[in-house]
Structure formats: C-alpha cells, structure tokens
C-alpha cells in the first residue's frame, strides 16, 4: 500500500464505487468492444407497408444485456415508407457531441439515401437489440462504424435487388444514388416505389454486403446541421428536465455535504407541514456515489415548493465514515512528498540517475499541480420515473442509459424486464452522466410515490455532489545534452486513491503514456494520497490535466535546450511508427509529427508577433486522437492573461460531419481554457466549497478566443469529443 496516512481509513464504499467507475472507463476505452459486432438483419412487418430493417446483435456474445436470449427481439433501425420518407433511429445519447446527426449520416451514406429524405428519431433503450447505447471516451463513431454502415448497406442491397427483379436484370447492372436505384440503361426507381418489393427480398448477410469506398462517399465529411436544431431554437421539449407527465409530482434529494455521511435525524414532521409538500422521507441508499447515497427526499406539488422546503430541512448527519478531505492538506503533503521519489515505480527505462549525475547534461526541475474540478453540465442532474403495477418507466438524461437497466433493477429491486428507459436529449455530458446516480435515486423515490415523479437537483446539489476530475501533482526533473537533445525525464506523480491501491478513475498515468518510450532515460514514480471525494471521468479523462503538466514541462526543456519548441517535439517523435504495432489506438509518431507541423504552419509559428504577445504550442495524444494546438496569448501588467487565437490541428480519422467536428474542437478549446484558468473545486472537511456559478467560473463570451480548426483525415476512426480540450498549454 502506497498511500500516505493523511486519511488513513479507507472507505470501503468509496473504494467499491471507484472500482465500478474504473471498470466502466476501461470498458469504454478498451481496445476490445465487449459487445460483438456480429450483426444480423431481419425483416419485420409494419402497418402501411414498405421496408423495415431490424438490426440484431448476436446474443451469444453479449455480456451486458441480462435479458438477451436466443430469441431475437426485433427493433427497427431504419424504415423506408412507400412515400419515400426514410426514418432512421439513432441508437446513442445526444449529449452535444452530435451523434444523433452523425450516426444516421453513416447509415444514410451506405444506404445511398438523399439526406433530405431522412428524418431521425431516438431509438429506445434496448441493448439486446442495439448493443452498447452509451457515449463516452470518444468512442461512439469508431465502435459503431461497422455496425451502422452494415445497416445501411444491407438495405441498399435489398432495394437494388428489388429493382433488378422488377426490371428483370442482374443486380450488378444496377446502382443506387440519392434514394434511387438506377439501371445501366438509365431506368430509375425511387426508394419509395421500391419499399414494398424490397421488403420481400431475402436479407443478405451483413458481413457479406459490399461497403462503399471512401472515395465514393456522397454524404460523409460535408457540413450538416444538427437534426434537432429547429426544436432546440424553438424551445420544444427535448431534455430530461422537460419531461412532463400527468399528475406528476416533484422531488428534491438532500445528501450529506461531506461525502459519505448518513442521516442521523431530520425535522421530517416540520417539513411535511410546509406548503405544497406531499411527503418527506429518509432513504438509506446503497452508500455508493454511483448509486444512491443516504439522504432525505422531499416530494412536493411543484419544483419551487420542493426547493423551498429543502431550505427548511434540517438534517443531523452521522459523519463518522464521511470524507475529511482538505485540499490545503493535500497540497502540503504533496509539497513534502515531491522532495523525494514516489513510493511506487511505474516505469523505468535506461538510467536517469546516471544522466542527472553527469555534468555533460543540463538539468531542470519543475512542479505542476492541478485541482479537483466539477463537470457543471448546464442541465443539472435530473430524472423522471413512474412506478405502477410493478413496472418502472424512466426518462433519463444519461450518457449510459443502457447501463442503468441492470443497475436500477438491483438498486430499486424491480425485475429488469419490468423496467423501460427512455433516452432524452442530454444538456451536456462531459463524462458526468456516465454515472447513473440520479437515475438510481429517482427509481428509489418513485417506488414510494404513487405518481410520476421528477427528481430535480439544484445547481448547488449538482456542484457539491459530482464525480470530480481528480487533482494531481507532478515533480519533474529532466535533462538535455549539449546538442540540445532530450536525454532524461523523471516524473514523481502524486495522485489519489480510493482503495489505497489503485489511482482513482481518471487519475492514472501509465509508463507508456507520452513521453514514455520517447525518452532514452525515463522514470515515472507514483505516490497515492487517499481521498474520500468521488472521482470520475471528465472530458478526456486523465489527459485533460496530464497534458497541461507534461506538455508544459516539454516546453521548459526546449527552452533549457535553447531549441525551437516545434523542432524539439518533432525530434522527440523520431521515425514515423505505431507505438504498439498493429494497434490503431496507440500513438503514431508520424501522425503526431504531421499535426504538430500543421498547427505550426497554420498559426504562423516563428513569424514575428505584436509586442506583448507570445505563442505556445502543445501536442497531445488522447483517446486515439492526435492533436496539436498553438495558442497566441498576451499578459498585461496585472498579469491578466488573454487568449487571442488558437490554432488546432487534429488527426482523428475520417470526419463524418465537418460542422460537428469543428464545433467539438472549438468547444473543447473553450472548455480547456475554463479548466486551466478559472476552475477549482476546494475541499474542506470533506465538503466542496463551491456551490454555484458565482463561485465556479465558466468562460464567458468576451473571453472566448478565435479558434481555427484543421483536420488531417487518416484512415482509421478515432473519435472527436474529447481531445480538443487537452493540449491547451501556453508557452510563456
């Protein structure tokens, strides 16, 4: 055990919680998808005629759908009506990353559909049919790419087959384009006209259908507006918070401000008498932050009655097992610890000591730290549920509603086959909604309420009961030789643990993470501080903080070597190669060099700047995407920093929707700026001190920099949601 005795009692609930989150992140980020992509397509009839394709996942190889059986439960993926309209269901959650537009675009490309014929609906949550229906770790596009393309291609093959039969020609003599099948002699039939005949065609093997080549793409890579944009700008109900049900009641839930505290007593009788209050009760909970922590639920006739009653609620908490975390204490401990090596060696290549002992090398040291931060999704956590006749129906703004099915079944004690979850649009994910705590809470509450109930967290609840991006400390030492070449890199990484053994979710650093394997003498050691604060994934988990520290130190080393930062980084990359041969989710030094060169070129790197301005460059590899950014900044006499312009060069593989991809990069830069310069969650006696946006800043429009985005589109898909926020390092 390597933890420091700051908070020596390991909280077993926190440890279990963290293990669950780490497993989830590993699952999301892992190289092997747990759900088989062997897909089957089968026909299902529907009223009105036309072609309906249902999509199946082989239940044999399915690990996370408890209800999967040998029987294939049909569910429509796409539907073509005789009037020519094409309905495509999007299987994943729209959290602002754009997949409700991107997924159907991929299907429509292989279908050879005209995009204006397509309308999109949210698919029901049914992992037995759709496979994984979560979104996290920038993996939605890469992991669903084949499945979605096959869905479109099978339908296209059947439409072509139907046309060939009608014309009595071979299918090879026909092609599809813009929702029509065209014969070699120029005859045409629309998809609408073919829909009914296509439904009678045999279904080809999804794996055998020919997929289009990239050069033949008619849709992908262009600019598309989000499919829900009109609804968004006219204020139509879309989000979890917008759920309205007949005779619905409203709930709030008060948890202990120190993580892990239990309810000792509360003024329940007093609160029950307050205007609009229908009920108030204590929930013991499971004790896990990813499920249900202990607390008091108030049920009222309106959100406002519930909020007001919550202000009158007085709870005496049992904090004997609650977190005692103090950020100031962590800072002091880290300062002491960083004077020596870490307690555990994570990676050791060559001999850093020999280099540091040699007078032929120039040595520098630096320390970096970053605090805990919150997700602060603009839609606070909320969820609606209705328990009646032994069945539970849920409307969830979750990033992993599929994962909530077995979870809620266990926590709320409702058989999984009696649970229905509707996916709503999500008012910001950023990793916060990988956890389904608010879903578990409302399910538990709904079982005690004889009506549909909407649970609404206040902003204060949201900010003080997050699963935070963990803080961390780095004590770096590095060396360059007389030619200015990087010869040694040492990092004593002080991070946090919940179980006393492993770093918390989002708090790990591996030996082969950048710049491991790129430096001849490399040592990474680690010391774990024990925290009782729940930690989780935040946009590019791990990377969002690590890139700041690591890339800043690379810059310091380049300065020490009196080298140009771009040239120094390119030299570190060396020959173009995959770090792990054959693994397209590993770092490719050639792609890295390409994005670094592109960012430098597009940002006028090396050219003179107005007085007072400077450029900083950073590279980062995260979630299989290669990204370089150049920031142009100035600092005034009061040390106020202004970010003028950011140039992003990214290689995340082929782009599905250019508008969406650019938006992700622009947003991620803004997010990165907020994280680095404005945000801090302070912990005192286990309590988060920041309550609302007056104490926790998000970047506002006057400070938003100009962002230019340039993509290199290599062959393999890698995903886009996360990387942009990562390498925003300012080289001043």
């Amino acid at each position: 055990m390597n933890s420091v005795k700051s908070n020596p009692v390991i909280n077993t609930a926190r440890a279990a919680d963290d293990a669950a989150l780490r497993a989830l992140m590993q699952d999301i980020l892992g190289e092997t998808p747990r759900v088989s992509r062997r897909a089957f397509l089968k026909l299902a009839g529907f009223a009105g005629g036309g072609l309906v394709l249902a999509f199946y996942i082989d239940s044999h190889e399915q690990t996370n759908a408890a209800t999967a059986t040998q029987d294939f439960a049909p569910n429509a993926f796409l539907r073509i009506s005789p009037d020519g309209s094409i309905l495509i269901y999007s299987k994943g959650p729209e959290i602002g990353q754009g997949i409700k537009t991107a997924f159907p675009l991929i299907i429509a490309e292989e279908l050879d559909a005209k995009w204006s014929d397509v309308h999109v609906e949210q698919a029901p949550i049914n992992p037995a049919v759709y496979g994984r229906q979560g979104a996290g770790g920038s993996t939605s596009i890469p992991t669903n790419w084949d499945q979605l393309r096959q869905a479109g291609a099978v339908a296209r093959a059947m439409l072509i087959g139907a046309a060939a039969k009608t014309w009595n020609v071979s299918a090879d003599a026909c092609r599809a384009s813009a929702s029509e099948v065209i014969s070699s002699d120029g005859r045409k039939l629309s998809y609408g006209a073919l829909a009914t005949a296509a439904a009678a065609m045999p279904v080809p093997d999804a794996k055998a259908v020919k997929l289009k080549e990239r050069k033949d793409y008619a849709l992908l890579g262009k600019r598309y507006g989000g499919v829900d944009n009109t609804k968004v700008v006219t204020g139509q109900p879309l989000f979890g918070i917008d759920t309205v049900l007949p005779n619905m009641v409203f709930a709030v839930y008060q948890k202990c401000p120190a993580f892990g505290g239990k309810v000792k007593s509360a003024n329940l009788d007093e609160v029950r008498q307050l205007p609009g209050v229908k009920d108030v009760f204590v929930i013991e909970g499971t004790g896990l932050a990813t499920e249900v922590m202990p607390g008091v639920a108030i049920i009222a006739d309106s959100t406002w009655s519930a909020f007001k009653a919550k202000q009158q609620l007085k709870v005496e908490w049992d904090e004997s097992n609650a977190s005692k975390d103090n950020w100031d204490t962590f800072v002091k401990q880290a300062a002491e610890l960083s004077k020596g090596p870490g307690k555990e060696t994570v990676g050791n290549v060559g001999d850093v000591e020999q280099i540091f002992a040699s007078s032929a090398h120039k040595k520098i040291e630096a320390r970096y730290s970053y605090p805990f931060i919150a997700h602060a999704t603009l839609e606070p956590q909320n969820c609606t549920a209705w328990y009646r006749d032994g069945a539970l129906e849920i409307w969830a703004p979750s990033q992993q509603a599929d994962q909530a099915l077995p979870l809620v079944a266990r926590v709320a004690q409702v058989p999984q086959e009696r649970i229905t979850i509707h996916q709503t649009r999500v008012g910001g994910g950023f990793g916060r909604r990988l956890a389904n705590d608010y879903v578990c809470e409302v399910a538990t509450i709904a079982k005690r309420v004889n009506a549909p109930v909407k649970l609404m967290w206040t902003r204060e609840d949201d900010m003080t009961h997050d699963l935070y991006r963990v803080g961390g400390f780095h004590a770096f030492k590095g060396a360059v030789d007389d030619k200015g070449k990087l010869t040694a890199w040492q990092d004593h990484f002080i991070t946090f643990t919940a179980d006393g053994q492993k770093a918390v979710a989002g708090g790990g650093l591996a030996a082969d993470d950048f710049p491991g394997l790129l430096v001849p003498n490399f040592r990474l050691t680690q010391t774990l501080l024990t925290t009782g604060t729940p930690c989780g994934a935040l946009r590019a988990p791990g990377s969002n903080a690590l890139a700041f520290a690591i890339q800043s130190f690379v810059h310091e080393l380049a300065l020490a070597a009196k080298r140009d930062h771009v040239e120094f980084l390119l030299e570190m990359m060396g020959e173009p190669r995959w770090f792990t041969p054959g693994n397209i989710r590993s770092l490719n030094t050639g792609r890295a060099a390409n994005v670094i060169r592109l960012a430098a070129e597009k940002s006028d790197w090396g050219k003179p700047l107005p007085k007072g301005r400077a450029r900083g460059l950073a590279f980062h590899f995260s979630h299989a995407g290669h990204v370089a950014e150049v920031a142009e900044v100035s600092v005034d006499a009061k040390k106020k920093l202004t970010l003028h312009r950011v140039t992003v060069a990214a290689d995340v593989g082929p782009i599905v929707n250019m508008s969406g991809a650019e938006a992700q990069a622009q947003g991620a830069v803004t997010d990165g700026f907020s994280m680095m310069f404005a945000q801090q969650i302070d912990l005192q006696n286990g309590r988060v001190q920041q309550q609302n946006f007056n104490q926790y800043a998000l970047l506002r429009m006057p400070y938003a920099p100009q962002v230019e985005v340039h993509f290199i589109q290599s062959e393999d898909f890698t995903g886009k949601g996360c990387q942009g926020c990562v390498p925003l390092v300012v080289g001043l």
């Binding site: 944009n229 204020g235 139509q236 603009l378 649009r425 950023f430 508008s659 609302n692 429009m701 006057p702």
Partner: protein, 159 residues
C-alpha cells in the same frame, strides 16, 4: 388570482405561492419548458425571457413582481404564423447548438440586443451576451449568427 400575458395570451394562475419565480411558473404551471433552469441565481442566463421586451433572468423574478405584465418566452420568439425569428434561422444556418440546453436563453438575450441595436458591434455582442453561459463553448458561432441575423434583418427592411 395572478394574471400574466405570455406570448400574447392572457394566462391566469390560481392557487400559487406568489414568491414562485417566473421560471417555475412557466415550466411547471404553464407547460412552457423551453425556458431552462441552470443556476437559480441569475448567473447562467439559461432562463432568460423578455419582460415587456427587456431580457430578464426568470429564475430570479418572483411572480408577484410581474403580475399583469407582458412576457415573451422562446416558444413565442417566432412569428405567430410560425415564421422563425431571423436569429432562430441564423442559429440553424450556423449549426450553433451543441447540447442545446443554453440556447433558448442565448436567443432571448440576443433578440433583446437586436431590438436595442439592430447592427451590434462585436463589443455590443460581448457585453450583452456575457450574461449567458454556454458550457459547450458555442460562443464563436453565436457571435457569427447574431451578425448574420442583423445583416439579414436589415436587408429585409430595406432591400
């Protein structure tokens, strides 16, 4: 009984605590859920509506303070015949929304700005829109869409 004019219609709200913020009257009592809750303390702007034409943060305006007055919400921003406001059109053309949660508030603040200043400068836009947070970081597109809508509106009036 408190009465409001919301999007041109007179609405009477019975049996309500007069301290209820306008936001929750709109959402829970009138079923107008386009106006969003984000912070409850007038910091994020997600709840922005027009009170007699001026932008207010409806989370911090009690019902008692606005009785009998004119309220416009995102649901009433388009023309009554359904024609979108130039800002709504520009938002679609520029593909502004990411998660979309803040956009109703952004649009209402921007619409009030254009009423005051039909041709706003970047500084005018920054100053008005600083009241509204976007967690996804769509600010660049919001600014471009406001300029675009301003130019098109002017065009429509004087071709």
């Amino acid at each position: 009984m408190p009465t409001l004019t919301v999007n041109g219609q007179t609405r009477t709200i019975d049996d309500i605590d007069p301290t209820t913020p306008l936001l929750w009257v709109l959402r829970d009592r009138l079923g107008l859920v386009g106006t969003k809750y984000g912070c409850g303390i007038a910091q994020c702007g997600a709840c922005t509506v027009h009170l007699n034409g001026a932008p207010v943060r409806s989370c911090s305006v009690p019902l008692a303070a606005v009785e009998g007055q004119q309220i416009t919400t995102i649901e009433g921003l388009a023309n009554q015949d359904g024609k979108l406001h130039p800002l709504q059109q520009a938002w679609i053309e520029h593909d502004v929304p990411q998660c979309g949660y803040c956009q109703a508030g952004q649009l209402m603040t921007a619409a009030a700005l254009l009423k005051q200043k039909p041709k706003p400068s970047d500084a005018d836009i920054d100053s008005a829109m600083a009241a509204n947070l976007c967690r996804c970081g769509t600010y660049l597109r919001i600014r471009a869409a406001i300029h675009d809508a301003a130019n098109k509106s002017a065009y429509a009036v004087a071709p």
